[in-house]
């Protein structure tokens, strides 16, 4: 009997102690969940922001790297809600629309309007497409932290060896192909001028520039003449021998072929800078915009990740989380990440004397500036696929490009087949009634 009362008493004390402990805790820890690959940069940035007093007083930012699948993590956390929620999440433009559509992300409009740094209008500070990328129905759900778009990276030595002018921002598709062919003639054995994979992400900007709509009404646009012509252009180097895939030259991706000097022209984003710096820092390289269509049009993809806040947080905590976001995208933070070759979103950095973007001193900073300017060009669109879904759109197109590169089908036949396959998928996903699109 005595022991029973003793156990009950101790349990009571324990419950009381836990209650007191939890009630005395203040919301000082703000959790930030992002790609695990960003860990070194984020930790260095947080240390720097802490050092210069940019983080809100008394707030400790806890970095939680997500190593498996960020989209899955965000969807799971938002669906679970409550204690599962972190305070700030990376939101990738690729899946931002579907996450915003859940209604579980906080609209940041009011916070931005009140912000002395970002407000009242984020478009005054950020490149326009970077705001568009996360704005749905007039509500901004994330603030871009950095970004990328595609540009042509070229090896200057290869062009000098061929006696050809470097690619320029005004090159058309034909200029580009002619220069590449000349570079190829002077290229060492086992290499090819262009390193290009049958990658739909690299292809689509050319198709959009050539007038291919994202969707042809409710149906796949791949069988349009604009798409087929773009696919002809895109595949010419590999079909005619002056282009190779990265695996053809023993590289994991075109960037690796470029840094190893097994390919001299690649169509990649600003993510090229890090590998060049780490693996071939003396490489003499330059960057130029993607070539123009014969009638002078250009398009591009914007790849970006923003900071988003879940809707389920208490208002005070959401406000603190936003203050942390403000610090993470402050001008100091932008300059800090720029030094580490990420490309931050503030327009003013192009003219700010403190910014390497304003006055590039080396090819890395010059390359970053080209990417920055390329993103601001008309025709740049967020890398997102709406209700159709990126995997469905890209898988069908990728299969067609693979067939073209493998010479298993003509360009027209492969693109027409891709259109039919996407149409079938749209029916399977319940997005289009049967019989509306060809092949269904």
């Amino acid at each position: 009997m005595y022991r029973k009362w003793l156990i009950l008493g101790l349990a009571g004390l324990l419950v009381l102690g836990l209650g007191t402990a939890s009630s005395s805790q203040q919301p000082t820890s703000i959790t930030l969940v992002g790609f695990s690959g960003d860990t070194p940069v984020v930790q260095a940035l947080l240390t720097e922001l802490q050092r210069i007093g940019k983080l809100p007083a008394g707030v400790n930012v806890v970095w939680q790297p997500e190593a498996v699948d960020m989209r899955q993590r965000v969807l799971n956390d938002l669906a679970a809600g409550g204690a599962a929620l972190a305070d700030i999440y990376y939101i990738d433009v690729f899946w931002a629309p579907e996450v915003a559509a859940t209604g579980r992300l906080q609209s940041l409009n009011d916070f931005i309007a009140r912000s002395t740094d970002l407000g009242p209008n984020l478009r005054d500070k950020w490149l326009e497409p970077l705001v568009d990328a996360f704005e749905f129905d007039g509500q901004i759900y994330a603030i871009a932290k950095d970004f990328n778009s595609l540009v042509i990276w070229y090896n200057k030595d290869a062009f000098r060896r061929a006696g050809v002018a470097f690619p320029s921002n005004t090159d058309t598709w034909f200029d580009f192909l002619q220069k590449a062919q000349a570079v190829n003639r002077a290229a060492p054995a086992g290499t090819a001028a262009i390193n290009l994979n049958p990658d739909p992400v690299r292809f689509l900007p050319f198709a959009f520039a050539n007038g291919m709509p994202f969707m042809l009404g409710l149906c796949a646009p791949f069988a349009t003449e604009e798409a087929i012509t773009a696919a002809e252009f895109f595949s010419i180097p590999n079909r005619f021998g002056f282009g190779k895939t990265s695996a053809d030259v023993g590289a994991g991706w075109p960037g690796a072929a470029f840094t190893a000097e097994k390919g001299f022209i690649v169509n990649e984003g600003g993510w090229m800078l890090g590998p060049i710096l780490n693996e071939n820092p003396t490489l003499d390289f330059g960057a130029a915009f993607l070539p123009l269509t014969p009638d002078g049009k250009r398009a591009n993809y914007l790849f970006t990740v923003g900071y988003g806040i879940p809707a389920g947080l208490p208002s005070a905590r959401a406000q603190t989380a936003f203050q942390v976001v403000e610090a993470l995208v402050s001008k100091e933070a932008n300059l800090f990440v720029l030094e580490r070759l990420a490309i931050p979103p503030r327009k003013e950095l192009l003219a700010d004397p403190k910014s390497p973007l304003a006055n590039p001193q080396n090819p890395f900073q010059a390359g970053a500036r080209v990417v920055f300017e390329a993103t601001g060009q008309p025709g740049t669109r967020p890398f997102t696929f709406g209700a159709v879904g990126g995997p469905a759109y890209l898988d069908t197109l990728g299969a067609a490009l693979t067939k073209i590169f493998n010479k298993e089908a003509t360009v027209r036949a492969a693109m027409e087949e891709a259109a039919l396959n996407l149409n079938k998928l749209l029916v399977d996903k319940g997005l289009v009634p049967r019989g509306v699109c060809p092949g269904t």
């Binding site: 989209r71 669906a79 695996a247 209700a387 159709v388 898988d395 493998n406 298993e408 996903k429």
Partner: protein, 380 residues
């Protein structure tokens, strides 16, 4: 009353637990396993069954739709494709890996010097990381990979191989005739010493013809077959799926080899001795002694093979970034694709319906195999 009933049941079926304390301890030790079974399997299974009759995307409450998801599955061209891939994959891989694992087990069951080394060597593929092995395999079968290099070399040196084979045959025949004439008695066709002499002689002939310039490698363009990143088919099955089959067979054989090897230890030697007395050769001993004696093990291996192949996921997932999805999709990957990979919010209802279908399919195939194929007690 309840406790007494449990005790009575336990007493009647297994060992008799004499005291209440013993029973308590038993349940206490069983608790972690029971908890895992109930939560991770029982609860999850019941939820999946429920979700399969609903439309649910994790955010809106599930809405009951009856059999709509199952009807939709049967109309979904990608599901039907995944189903056909899965059945073909399972049939081919299970058959081939079972036969090869059995043969390999018989081979490494010999009492030879250094056989342990071979046993360990053959087992390496099974203990290697599936993801790493798959990535290496993807490079081997790449357009400029080792597989295409060997095929190119085969074309280049086809004439050399023909000359070599012809020379071996000729020299062997001459030696056999010589031996027969010399000793006036028949000589074994596969006499190792004669065979070795023929091989060496044929090699010398081939090298000599090459040195004299009679034989030259053929100039052929390098083979650039895309084994993985292609939609081309062979016998109606996509090439990438054949590649995954080959990989899966290679990585699974060693595990089954070990199971067969354990079974072989229990086959009475007297059976082989009796078969030898009856004049049975190696193949007859294998077919009429080993295989029937291993029937329970064979049933286990086939059942494990069927379950593993019907639920094939990891190697498909690794190759999904390299091959067109429609060339490699299996039912397990279809479930994942609906839940996480297809863009848009998760289609939990569809994924659950497909998962339930796969579970029932697995059960049905295993039971059908047991009924009409090889069972632990049945007749071969």
């Amino acid at each position: 009353m309840g406790g007494r009933l449990v005790r009575r049941l336990l007493c009647s079926y297994t060992l008799c637990m004499r005291t209440r304390e013993e029973l308590g301890w038993a349940f206490l030790f069983l608790l972690p396993l029971l908890w895992t079974l109930v939560v991770a399997f029982g609860y999850a299974f019941i939820r999946a069954v429920y979700f399969s009759f609903t439309e649910y995307d994790l955010f809106k409450p599930p809405s009951w739709v009856g059999l709509k998801n199952f009807n939709h599955l049967l109309e979904d061209s990608r599901f039907l494709l995944a189903l056909s891939h899965t059945l073909v994959f399972s049939a081919i891989v299970t058959s081939v890996q079972t036969i090869l694992a059995l043969l390999l087990a018989v081979v490494v069951n010999q009492k030879l010097r250094g056989i342990t080394l071979f046993r360990a060597g053959y087992y390496v593929p099974s203990i290697s990381s599936s993801v790493v092995v798959t990535l290496i395999f993807a490079w081997l079968v790449h357009r400029r990979g080792v597989a295409n290099f060997l095929l190119t070399a085969l074309q280049q040196y086809a004439l050399y191989l023909l000359v070599f084979a012809g020379a071996v045959a000729l020299l062997h025949l001459l030696q056999l005739l010589w031996e027969r004439w010399r000793w006036k008695a028949p000589t074994r066709f596969f006499d190792p010493l004669l065979l070795l002499t023929s091989l060496l002689g044929a090699a010398l002939v081939t090298i000599g013809l090459h040195q004299l310039g009679v034989l030259r490698p053929r100039a052929v363009p390098p083979m650039e077959i895309a084994w993985v990143s292609t939609e081309r088919t062979f016998l109606g099955v996509p090439l990438p799926l054949w590649s995954i089959m080959a990989l899966n067979i290679w990585t699974t054989i060693p595990t089954f080899m070990v199971i067969f090897l354990a079974g072989l230890q229990d086959v009475p030697k007297e059976l082989y001795e009796a078969a030898e007395l009856d004049g049975a050769g190696s193949w007859q001993k294998l077919w009429y002694v080993t295989v029937p004696a291993l029937r329970p093990v064979l049933f286990l291996v086939i059942t494990l093979g069927l379950i593993g192949t019907l639920q094939m996921f990891d190697q498909v997932a690794v190759l999904a970034g390299l091959a067109p999805l429609d060339s490699i999709i299996t039912l397990a990957y279809y479930i994942y694709w609906n839940m996480f990979g297809g863009g848009g919010l998760p289609r939990v209802g569809m994924a659950s319906a497909a998962a339930l279908f796969l579970a029932l399919l697995t059960l049905a195939v295993v039971l059908l195999q047991r009924r009409f194929g090889i069972s632990e007690k049945g007749v071969l």
